[in-house]
Structure formats: structure tokens, C-alpha cells
């Protein structure tokens, strides 16, 4: 693939632009509050782990991370497992209302979360799921399921139809064909779809905050609470922020090879 002149410089500048604000957050999380407020230092002169220690020892803090991960994983599993058969159907067959259904699904991906915040609150309170990870996981399906269907449909379409036909001639039943042949063939597509589901569920806050109060509160909401308590505890805020970046960074590291090849296989 052919690149443009000065590409190293452009890339370097852009990466610095991306990393500088993150560096500043990491930098602050290792400073004492006195150092943050009183002086401007480019790196922590008196590095401290006090903020991290506080987060890992205080249950009201670390439980937030567990809650967040719980609903994100639930949501990813639900989204992928319902989206897989649908993606196959959209890719291989024509059926009554297929185009309208596909558009309707996509339009839900585009619906603003703010519109649904209040009705979701009513709905999940009424069926007794309020303040559980299930409420948030199901609520996030509204934008993750359509996205997963969309991505997976592209990958299924990339599998030649002859493979289906050969498998059926060989006597595979549909479920066995699906699990034994199709799923391994589009493994990288499932990886990409799971990556996107994880990403959009992990970063969403408005619905997650509205649908939880105590026992399932996500970390991102706990952060906002502590900011207002007794002035600004900047160091603690920064440390909590850094810890929310880590799961995302880990997920990216695992799918880094799929980001390059996986994206291209599907929807291009």
C-alpha cells in the first residue's frame, strides 16, 4: 500500500496529539494533590501511589469496575449470540420485509440514548431488573445488536455459498454446520464485532447511570459522584480515569491483528 510524502512526521504528530492528554492524566494520577494544585510539573516530582491504593482498598470504588465489566461482558455475549443467526439470514436469504427490518435495526443504532433514558427507567423498574447488570446489558443491546448484525453480515457474505451447499450435501444439519463450519470461518469477524460491542457498552454512561442506583453502579458514574465531594480530589479522579482506560487498552492489544485484517475482510 502506498503512502504519502512526510507520512512519518504526520503520523508522529498525530500520535503525540492523541497521547499528550492521556499522558497528562497518568502524570496527575501519580502526584499528590498538593503538587497538582501548587506547581506545574511535567512529571511527578514526588511520585505517590496513594490514589491507586485508595481505589483498590475501598469497596465502593473497586466494585464499580466489577459492575461495569459484568454488564459489558453480558451485553457482548447476548449481542453476538442473537446477531449471528440473523447475520446469516440477512446474508443468504430474501424474506418478507427483510430490507425494512434491516433498516429498522440500523435506525435503532442511531437513536439517541437521551430519548430512551426515562422510558427505560420505567420499563426496567416495572419488571424488577432495575439496578442489576441485566438492565444495563439489555438496554445496551439497542445499539449493539444492530451493529453486530451489520458487521457480521459483511463477514458471512464473504464466505462463499458453495461451502454451505457442500456441508449440507455432506449431511451436516443446520446447527452443526453453523457451529462447526461457519463460526470458525468468520472467527475474525466475531472478534471485530465483539470488539465493537465491548467498546460501545464500555464507554456508554447515560443509560448505565440511569438504570443503576447502588448495587450495579458503573465505575464511570462513581467517578462523577466523588468529584463533587469536599472540593476536587484531582489525583483520585485522575487515577480512577487511568484505571478505566486499562480494560480498553487490553482489549485492543488482543484484537490488534484483527483491527488491520478483520476490518478489511468485512465491510469493504
Amino acid at each position: 500500500m502506498h503512502s504519502i510524502p512526510g507520512r512519518r512526521l504526520i503520523m508522529a504528530l498525530f500520535l503525540i496529539f492523541l497521547l499528550l492528554p492521556i499522558y497528562w492524566l497518568v502524570n496527575m494520577s501519580f502526584k499528590t494533590n498538593a503538587e497538582i494544585v501548587s506547581t506545574m510539573t511535567l512529571w511527578p516530582h514526588a511520585p505517590t501511589l496513594q490514589h491507586y491504593k485508595r481505589i483498590f482498598t475501598d469497596e465502593s470504588w473497586y466494585s464499580g469496575y466489577i459492575n461495569s465489566l459484568e454488564y459489558v461482558v453480558l451485553n457482548t455475549i447476548i449481542s453476538i449470540s442473537v446477531a449471528l443467526p440473523a447475520a446469516y439470514a440477512f446474508s443468504r436469504y430474501r424474506f418478507l420485509g427483510d430490507k425494512h427490518l434491516f433498516f429498522w435495526l440500523l435506525s435503532n443504532r442511531m437513536a439517541p440514548a437521551a430519548v430512551y433514558a426515562l422510558p427505560f427507567f420505567n420499563l426496567y423498574s416495572a419488571i424488577g431488573l432495575f439496578d442489576t447488570p441485566w438492565a444495563v446489558a439489555l438496554a445496551h443491546c439497542i445499539f449493539n445488536v444492530p451493529l453486530a448484525v451489520w458487521i457480521l453480515e459483511g463477514f458471512v457474505s464473504g464466505v462463499p455459498r458453495e461451502i454451505d451447499e457442500t456441508a449440507f450435501l455432506d449431511g451436516y444439519s443446520f446447527p452443526r454446520f453453523f457451529i462447526k463450519i461457519l463460526v470458525p470461518l468468520i472467527a475474525s469477524g466475531i472478534g471485530v464485532a465483539a470488539f465493537f460491542c465491548f467498546m460501545f457498552s464500555w464507554v456508554e454512561l447515560l443509560l448505565a447511570r440511569t438504570l443503576t442506583s447502588v448495587s450495579a453502579k458503573p465505575i464511570a458514574a462513581i467517578m462523577t459522584r466523588t468529584v463533587s465531594a469536599a472540593g476536587m480530589d484531582w489525583g483520585l479522579l485522575a487515577a480512577a480515569g487511568v484505571l478505566t482506560i486499562i480494560p480498553g487498552a487490553l482489549v485492543i492489544w488482543f484484537v490488534r491483528n484483527y483491527i488491520a485484517s478483520g476490518f478489511a475482510l468485512g465491510r469493504v
Binding site: M1, S3, I4, R8, I10, M11, F14, F17, L18, L20, P21, I22, W24, L25, M28, V37, M40, I78, A86, Y88, A89, R92, Y93, F95, L101, F103, L105, L106, S107, N108, M110, A111, P112, A113, A114, A117, L118, N122, L138, A139, I142, V145, L205, L206, T210, A220, M223, W234, L237, A238, G241, T244, I245, G248, I252, R256, A260, F263, A264, V268
Partner: protein, 300 residues
């Protein structure tokens, strides 16, 4: 490859249909119900017909004025970030290293902002831009630029836009990169034999191949910027004044702040309708584009 007609495929789609209908149709019914009513608290509701909708579209009323102003701000915001992020994303994608470990490193760093929770993105920029403890605000003020996103409207706008560029340009870049990767090396060799210039290669080979991913990128970026809530809310809280109050922020203010359920529901429906229309236009353009592409590919 023609698809076969098979009505049994509905069984495969059914789980998706049920999950999404549960999350989308039921709540939407509640919204429609509320939008026709007025409430004075105590769960007492009064029929209000299309009153809220009339007010919403009339700029002389309080509700209508606020809605149309925030809608205007939101459209302006979306256009500005699209105008910056799409060209920048293409340039970044073209600047990707060709091979070696730097490819993986660049991809990981590019994807990093995408996986930071949105309110943490807000927090990062809130801290980064503060004149007293943030690097950006501190440096700007010390080289003589009077920068303060809390009190100055233009500074607040610049901060929100730069934050969005920081947050989302990577998505455009990653999609474009995937598009570029799918171009066979033979195309470039042919271009080289023809003595095509760098610009000609971009215009005749790379841009057409990126067409489809670019449409997806524009679609996703337009929609997401049109419903942006968390990041500007954390950084500016919609201020100073109302200068960075976008539609979602206005909506949450009315719904959860003032608990004006009727007004909020009417606003939701109109908001949703606008997004639906834009979405439909994009979808039609996209399906037409791929329908046009198929015969070409068959010929080649």
C-alpha cells in the same frame, strides 16, 4: 450471487427482533403516550393533544426557542467535526507505516481514545484545558493567549471540537486504513507503469476503493455527533450560558432536571424523527452505491 427466497429465515432473525423490540418499541410507546399529556406532578396527567409539538416548532415560545437553538448548534457542530475529521482521517490512514511492528503500535494507539469511557474523555479534556492545572491551558495562557473554556464561548467551542477530533478521528482513520488494505498491489504496479502521479493514484485508485468505508464513517460520525451528550456535558456543562448546549443536553435537562415529561417526550419524538430521516437518506445512498458497484466488479 442471488439470494434465495426463504421465509423460514425469519426464525433466524427472530431473536434479534425480540431483543431489539423489547428495548426499542416498548419504551417508544411510553414516549408517544407522554408526548400527548401534561403533568403537574403526583402522577396526575392531563390530555394535551399536539400542544407540545406546536410549541416545539414555534421559535417564539420558550420550549421552541430552546429546541431550535440547540438544534442549530448541534448541526453546526456536526458539520464542523465532519469537515475536520474526514480529511484528517484519510491523511492519517495514508500515513500509516507499511509493515513491521510499528503498524501494530500505531493501530493500538489510534484505537486507544475510542475505548475510553465518554465521561472520562470529558474529564481528560476538562483537566487538560484548565489554565491552573492543565498542560494545554497553562501553556496557552503563558504564551499570551487568553484561553479559558469556562467563561469564554469561543474557547468552549474550540475545546469541545478539538476534544471530538481527538476522540473520533481514529475511527475514520481505522476504517479508511481497512479500505486501503483491500487494494491489491497489482493496481499500484499498473499505475506505476502508466507513470501516474501520486495525486492521480489517490484520485483514481484509493479514493474509489475507500468510498464505501467513507460512507460508513460519515454516517457513524454524523449520528454520534448529533446525539453527543456526555463529553461536552462533563467539560462545559452546556455553558457558558447556553453556548454549548446540544439537543441531548437540552433534552436531559427538560426530562430529568425539570421532570417535564410531556415536553421532553415531544422533543424526543421530533429529535428521533430527524435522525431517522437522515439515516434513511444515508442508507438509500449506501445501498445504491453498492448496487452500482456490483455490476462493475462482475465486469472486471
Amino acid at each position: 450471487m442471488d439470494k434465495t427466497v426463504n421465509q423460514k429465515a425469519w426464525f433466524l432473525v427472530l431473536p434479534v427482533f425480540l431483543v431489539v423490540a423489547f428495548s426499542a418499541v416498548l419504551p417508544l410507546m411510553t414516549v408517544v403516550n407522554y408526548s400527548m399529556q401534561d403533568t403537574f406532578g403526583n402522577n396526575q396527567f392531563f390530555w394535551n393533544g399536539v400542544g407540545w409539538f406546536k410549541e416545539l416548532l414555534d421559535p417564539s415560545t420558550d420550549l421552541g426557542g430552546r429546541f431550535l437553538a440547540s438544534l442549530g448548534r448541534n448541526l453546526f457542530f456536526s458539520l464542523v467535526i465532519l469537515a475536520i475529521e474526514v480529511p484528517l482521517g484519510i491523511v492519517v490512514a495514508l500515513s500509516m507505516p507499511r509493515q513491521g511492528w510499528t503498524v501494530a503500535a500505531c493501530l493500538v494507539i489510534l484505537a486507544l481514545p475510542l475505548l475510553i469511557p465518554w465521561n472520562v474523555v470529558g474529564t481528560i479534556w476538562q483537566i487538560f484545558g484548565r489554565p491552573d492545572i492543565g498542560l494545554l491551558g497553562y501553556v496557552l495562557n503563558h504564551i499570551g493567549i487568553d484561553y479559558n473554556y469556562v467563561s469564554n464561548e469561543i474557547d468552549a467551542w474550540v475545546t469541545v471540537i478539538v476534544m471530538d477530533v481527538w476522540h473520533w478521528t481514529s475511527l475514520v482513520a481505522l476504517l479508511c486504513y481497512a479500505g486501503l488494505k483491500s487494494i491489491p498491489e497489482a493496481y499500484y504496479q499498473a499505475a506505476q507503469i502508466d507513470g501516474a502521479s501520486r495525486w492521480a493514484v489517490f484520485k483514481a485508485i484509493q479514493l474509489p476503493k475507500m468510498n464505501r468505508v467513507l460512507l460508513i464513517a460519515v454516517l457513524l460520525r454524523f449520528m454520534d455527533s448529533f446525539m453527543i451528550y456526555t463529553e461536552p456535558f462533563v467539560v462545559t456543562g452546556g455553558g457558558p450560558g447556553n453556548s454549548t448546549t446540544f439537543v441531548s443536553i437540552e433534552l436531559v435537562k427538560i426530562a430529568l432536571g425539570q421532570f417535564d415529561l410531556g415536553k421532553a417526550a415531544a422533543l424526543s419524538l421530533v429529535y428521533n424523527l430527524i435522525i431517522l430521516i437522515v439515516c434513511w437518506i444515508f442508507y438509500t445512498v449506501m445501498t445504491n452505491a453498492s448496487a452500482e458497484r456490483k455490476p462493475q466488479e462482475g465486469a472486471a
